[in-house]
Amino acid sequence: MSQILLALDTATERTTVGLARVGADRLELIGAAVVDAPRAAMSRLLPMTESLLAANDLTVAEVGGVIVGRGPGSFTGVRIGVATAKGLAHGLSCPLWGVSTLDAIAWMLAHEDTTVAVVGDAMRGEVYPALFRCGGGRAERLTPDRVAKPADVAAEWAALGHPLLLAGNGLHKYSTLFAEALADNAVFADEELWPPYAHGLFGAWVAQLASGERGSGEVADVLPVYTRLSDAEEDERTRAGLPSAPTPGSGVSGGGSA
């Protein structure tokens, strides 16, 4: 593969793209762009990618690998990002890898020596919570993907009894709730670092390689992480005697490896 990697994420309102060059022992970020495009990722993603390539005197044909944030996040956002990434990788006959959008957010805080708590907005009054042990330029995931009520998550995290560095787009709606529940243990990351950035996507990808969860690079093997029923909804279905709900859409990887 060529030495240029393209990363993109549209799982949140923030459409993000980035380019990196594969060096001898590290990735060098050569350019990144973000735009707040709520429900407009479809129209912004490819033009942004094209401009970013042009600004770095590159063409899309020079891209040798694609990394996509596969959620969890907005259903349509995740679908647009993963579908676009698959289209690009397929057309370029280059490898495609998926990383968690929540991991990408945590990796932006990898230099903070603390526990990072990412709150992704799941909409419908729910969030995607995930905890990470950060420090020394690394972010190690402590909890799997799930959907939960913000108040339950806040209570759970308050019970941990230690400071948490909070990030994630769910905080736009629930920062007050977490601030009240966690009191002095709530430390908020700079609001600019709540959404994912290319730098974080690359960081999460490098860590994935190092951990041996490299993935095949096959386009078909990268699955989106769509919203799925929360525990409460599952319980309700069980009570109503309904079968466990199928995860919506065309194939979902819920927990699983990133």
């Binding site: 709520p38 429900r39 907005s74 259903f75 349509t76 956002g77 909409m123 419908r124 009054g125 769509y226 919203t227 919506p248 859409g249």
Partner: protein, 185 residues
């Protein structure tokens, strides 16, 4: 149990009820409309749209499923009639749109229990005569109650529109006393 019952005696009056809603809606507010064909769901939406400053014409988005109108704030006009299953709500980015920067009106929103958000006003429209309609406002959640109360207040005094609090619910509604019996057309 509806908290407010609004009666209208013409399409114009139904539009006026929609008109009255425009001043008090905020981004993220949702109004779910139910009622038979011809009940006036689109009339209500037309009134709301006009008062939001929407210039293009408003028709029922039966085939489009969602039509977006630019006004003071965006108006997201859904018609869920053609959806087959609640899972398809994700396909149309339903939740992200509802929680975005505009007010959403959802026709046939009661087709799927999942489509009715925790905070909203459900309006059930019944045909009671050639042109006469009864609109039952059923608020959901705190914001829903707030909208319904303000909306009902805004409807008082409109020609051709009657507005009464539902007796069973009147006592717990703040401001209900001010409304009672004062607003028959």
């Amino acid at each position: 149990m509806p908290v407010w019952t609004i009666t209208t005696e013409s399409d114009t009056a139904t539009q006026a009820v929609g008109h009255a809603l425009a001043a008090l809606v905020m981004p993220g507010d949702v109004v779910v409309l139910s009622g038979d064909l011809g009940a006036g769901k689109t009339q209500l939406t037309k009134g709301l749209a006009a008062a939001l400053g929407v210039v293009d014409s408003v028709t029922s988005p039966t085939f489009n499923i969602l039509l977006v109108h630019e006004g003071r704030i965006p108006l997201y006009h859904f018609d869920l009639y053609r959806l087959q299953a609640a899972e398809e709500l994700d396909d149309i980015d339903y939740w992200a749109t509802l929680e975005a920067d505009g007010v959403s009106v959802v026709e046939w929103g009661d087709r799927f229990a999942e489509a009715i958000p925790e905070e909203c006003v459900v309006v059930r429209i019944r045909i009671t005569g050639d042109d006469a309609r009864v609109l039952a406002l059923e608020p959901r959640g705190i914001r829903g109650e707030e909208i319904a109360t303000l909306w009902a207040e805004a409807c008082t005094g409109i020609v051709g529109v009657g507005c009464v609090p539902d007796p069973a619910d009147a006592e717990r509604m703040p401001g209900a006393n001010a409304q009672r019996g004062s607003d028959r057309p």
